[in-house]
Assembly symmetry: C2
Homo-oligomer: 360 residues x 2
């Protein structure tokens, strides 16, 4: 199930979002254009800054439009403020292009909160989906794992978690090509009685429902990097803390490694011998490879790139958007969610209520 | 403020808890005895198994007692079951020794859930403290950081988090020797309006109160290993997920490092040159150094060792218990908590209510 193989995939780009915008955006699009000849780009932002950059790339010739605007969302703008006062910003106009049908997807490396608020307001939710979730994937011991929600919702009802499981499984399917994804619910132990009530109810519901994948029950924090499952489902508070803790720990190890190789002359010589092997490891763990978080559940593909990424990272974020459009991710959700909710409705009430926790 | 310099510090040891018990317990005590000549040990467990091990160590001669029991808590026992049916287990009798005044502290490498349930039931809470919290410390980029709660309470009221901040600061003070600990509350952003209501109220209260340390506001997941603060305060659900995510990420990096050094002949040669430097790094990150989690808030010092540790790790867990007794950790809590709660009571009501979140 893919879009018409010949039809172009039109991606709106917030040309002014990101630490090094618009350079990374235009150069990233040029890289992506070579990788995905079907892609066409709409650059939204300051034409005087964008046009000379575009003109440098042959690959972009005749495949791009520019929508000019002088306004942009700043990194420190509050979401509410950007939503009210930012109707002419590059971010907002790029999102509008999707809502108006001029583009199939939007990619921005700008302010996350503003992007979330604007995308939710402009694009609205997919029918049947109550809450969007921030979704991404990262390296694990066994390959790659998708996790959601990473921060859109501080609190989640069991039904939100069920929707996240559906959307996460379809994401693993579409972006990572996992046939029958294993899905786990993040908790503090594997016993039935552990965790918040919402998690316990969601687990009961997930066991009773049919998903595009296999629900294997609870997983714990260490299972994320162990690659125990392909999809880790959690609320946005826990997911955000877990993601940032993993990033922080990775940073600490990288720094300790750097210091170790610089700690003595022998260690420096050792690094010279091992440097080729370490280059491969660095490539395996390159954050640019994992750039591109999706706001799943919206009526339109909206991908957030890291603000600090470079052109290669931005091209990868475009790649995520491209795959989601090409393999009709949102259409797959819409197809499945109706039936899922009907079955959820029909579940016996005891499954939708948490069993009382036995006091220790 | 320390206990009488000449009085012995008596530590009850659950001799049968841990993967390799009683060996690690007795050998760990022998190591600790040399480090802390003031320590005396009460071994609780199967005398026939313990006695021959004790007799091998000169350092333990005349400094130990044995309380014999044939029963023990098994690793898979449910907490409730251990509490009801385990009254003659080595774990329970070791805890009883503290409650009866025969010991100053208990250390066990056994089943965490059972230890928590039994310790809470037998020792009871310190006056004024409502909930115990699992507390430990680990390496960061800047040194070491204390985090609590790591899993005792799935949900926490703002007042529990305030108590955790107090106890965590005193822990950093007592065990790590930090004079004026910096305290952070784990959240998903630094803005006032982020996170759960309980966290926002706790932050308002902590700002208004006087603690043995400095409350610096919210911290995020990556701040844990960055060492931004000396004490990270959170609920037991979030803390457990964060700790296990950090452990999992550390494990992944260690494994990737191992594979990298084995990936080619050049890399192997590189390791030979760098091995001395890596030995130092391994020592810096040695989990045995960070062994020993405390159940803070109980009327008695109860330290949990990792089940899979060795004698050196177990000796370090004993060291944590020893320091907490010697530097009168519980007495310090009792001294401070009364005043803290009086001030908390006296705070104006708007501080004890969360400000409404501005919708984005």
């Amino acid at each position: 199930m893919t879009a018409n193989v010949n039809s172009p995939i039109r991606i709106a780009l917030d040309a002014m979002g990101g630490d090094d915008a618009p350079r990374i955006v235009v150069n990233g699009a040029a890289i992506a254009q070579v990788r995905y000849p079907q892609a066409e780009f709409i650059f939204v932002g300051d034409e005087a800054a964008i046009k000379p950059l575009i003109d440098k790339h042959k690959s972009l010739k005749g495949r791009t439009k520019i929508i000019h605007t002088a306004e942009r969302v700043l990194p420190d703008d509050k979401a509410a403020q950007a939503l009210r006062g930012g109707r002419q910003t590059s971010m907002r106009l790029a999102i509008n292009a999707v809502a108006e049908g001029a583009a199939d997807a939007i990619v921005s490396a700008g302010n996350t909160g503003a992007l979330m608020a604007m995308a939710k307001f402009v694009l609205k939710m997919l029918p049947g989906i109550d809450r969007p979730a921030i979704t991404t994937f990262f390296p694990t011991l066994k390959g790659e794992t998708v996790m959601l929600d990473l921060g859109a919702n501080t609190e989640c009802a069991p039904e939100n978690l069920v929707d996240f499981a559906l959307m996460g499984a379809l994401f693993a399917n579409t972006v990572l090509g996992v046939e029958n994804p294993r899905i786990g619910l993040l908790n503090v132990g594997s016993e039935e009685t552990k965790g918040h009530e919402e998690i316990r109810i969601a687990a009961q519901e997930l066991r009773a429902l049919e998903l595009p994948g296999q629900f294997i029950g609870y997983v714990e924090g260490n299972d994320i990097t162990n690659g125990t499952v392909d999809v880790v489902v959690t609320d946005g508070f826990t997911g955000n803390v877990a993601l940032k803790t993993a990033e922080g720990t990775a940073k600490m190890y990288t720094e300790f490694l750097r210091r170790t190789f610089k700690s003595s002359w022998l260690a420096r010589i050792g690094y010279m011998f091992a440097s080729h092997a370490f280059k491969k490891l660095r490539k395996r763990l390159d954050p640019r490879t994992y750039n591109g978080a999706l706001f799943v559940g919206l009526r339109g593909v909206c991908v957030k790139s890291h603000g600090g990424t470079d052109a290669i990272g931005f091209a990868n974020a475009i790649g995520v958007a491209y795959d989601l459009v090409k393999y009709q991710f949102n259409e797959k959700i819409s197809e499945r969610v109706q039936v899922l909710h009907e079955k959820l409705q029909a579940l016996p009430p005891e499954i939708k209520t948490a069993a009382p926790v036995v006091a220790a």
